[in-house]
Amino acid sequence: MPALTIEDLAVSYGNIKAVRGVSLTVRQGQITALIGANGAGKTSLLRAISGMVRYAGQIYYKEMKLNGMAAHKIVALGITHVPEGRGIFGNLTVKENLTLAAWLRKNDAEGVRRNYERVMMLLPRLSERLGQLAGTLSGGEQQMLAIGRAMMSDGDLILLDEPSMGLSPVLADEIYRIIAEINKTGVTILLVEQNAFMALQLAHHGCVMENGVIALEGAAMELLDDPRVRQAYLGV
């Protein structure tokens, strides 16, 4: 069953066409990797889903049409977007960042507490820095905070924009382990990455984006073996 269906999506900034007619489905409970070079339109696609940019075409989430919906209302449907560059609030403490992400769950104190404990368990490094301003965290810690926030929002679909960017291989592995952990609880994930090898190893399904269109699509394992992908993105 598709969690997310995108039909003929186009996103432009002035005269620049970032996404040019993309159709895509993200299956419920799976990790779908969207890979491609810088400027392929991956981030614009995520921004369209979460209502941050205007677009042409249709986007459905569990049969509900998202077109024209305000970004904060899309969050209320259960779509969480961890944006490019992590988007942490540097002038708030780590704990305030986490609490803010549970903004819409003010009548679910019990559930928020449960998620909070889970974040502390999966991301122990954050629990040591709760009172610290988020702007003083290292890049890896900021990425963990961004993922911790996504867990606090308790969405059914998480959009991740390059979670491994700027991280050491060890930290990137740790982030990926946490993503797998979140997926195991039934959360659907759309993972945007330049690091094709890591993303396809984790994902069930993969799409390759080039110049605003989907160039290739298939099971992640098949894409890993595809000669075109191997040549262009894996460097082998």
Binding site: M52, E96, L100
Partner: protein
């Protein structure tokens, strides 16, 4: 000795009024990086609402002050909705010109309704207490106490509540905030409501202390409070409080020590010198690049 204490009281009274107005500038700047030049005029509207509620409707003191706060808050939110929101993505210069225009509009609208200066009746029976030659009036006590209460309340809201977290997050990154499920427009409206509401209260307090009001009274006071906010560090709540108190102190001292016409000249000179050494204000931090 009593004379010095007396001047210290005047300093506190004036400083609290400046601080309450400066908070309105700093809050709006904090969330939108916009200098709301119409804020001084919201203060003036607060004073006129106080006049209306007291001399025409004969309402009790606490209702008068609530009416002035609520009226100014509604006007502030309306201005944001109609004039500033459409320009949120526009160049900052356009928004600043709009703010100046809104201010001139409010002044002249008030002028059309009430072309003459008005005398605000005594809101409370003013009792003076005498301690060894030091006179404290009940109005002075109320102004200072109310200001302290408002500042403490605002500080609590901004630091400890979810709405405060949202306001601070908004000032850091307006584009990411909706991804947390926070309705950004509602938080902006809330910020304007509090800032303008404080302006309305300040208008009432001012009218209690200096009861002759006119439609242009918000210009000079507004500029001064704006400068107080900049000196304290614009965008910083505690900075606005500090800046207001410093300005009140400098003005009072200048008025005591020198001919009264030198007051504004001395006050502004000192503030300009202070800015040379602390260009971000006393408690302000330079806007850092976000990684």
């Amino acid at each position: 000795m009593a004379y010095i204490a007396q001047q210290f009281l005047n300093m506190l009274q004036l400083g609290s009024i400046y601080a309450i107005i400066a908070l309105g500038y700093t809050m709006v700047y904090g969330v939108l990086s916009l200098i709301n030049f119409a804020h001084g005029d919201l203060f003036m509207v607060g004073a006129f609402l106080c006049f209306l509620a007291s001399s025409k409707l004969h309402l009790p003191f606490y209702i008068v002050i609530l009416a002035a706060a609520a009226g100014a808050a509604v006007l502030g939110v309306t201005v944001e909705r109609l004039a500033y929101r459409p320009l949120r993505e526009a160049p900052k210069v356009s928004a600043i010109i709009t703010a100046l225009g809104v201010g001139v509009f409010i002044e002249n609208f008030t002028l059309a309704l009430s072309p003459y200066p008005r005398h605000v009746p005594e809101l409370l029976h003013n009792i003076s207490y005498n301690f060894n030659g030091l006179t404290i009036s009940s109005i002075q006590m109320i102004i200072v106490a109310l200001s302290v209460l408002l500042m403490a309340g605002l500080d609590f809201i901004v630091r400890k509540t979810r709405y405060g977290s949202a306001m601070r997050a908004l000032s850091w990154d307006m584009r990411t905030l909706p991804l947390m499920g926070v309705p950004v427009n509602a938080i902006v409206a809330l910020t304007f409501a509090i800032g303008a509401g404080f302006g309305g209260v300040a208008g009432t307090m001012y009218a209690m202390a200096f009861p002759v009001i006119d439609p242009y009274m918000g210009i000079m006071i507004g500029w001064k409070a704006f400068i107080a906010a900049v000196v304290g560090g614009i965008g910083s709540i505690r900075g606005a409080m500090l800046g207001g108190c410093i300005l009140g102190a400098v003005e009072t001292i200048a008025a005591v020590a020198l001919p009264s016409t030198y007051r504004d000249f001395i006050a502004f000179t000192l503030l300009l010198i202070l800015l040379i050494f602390r260009p971000n204000g006393i408690l302000g931090v330079p806007k850092t690049l976000k990684v």
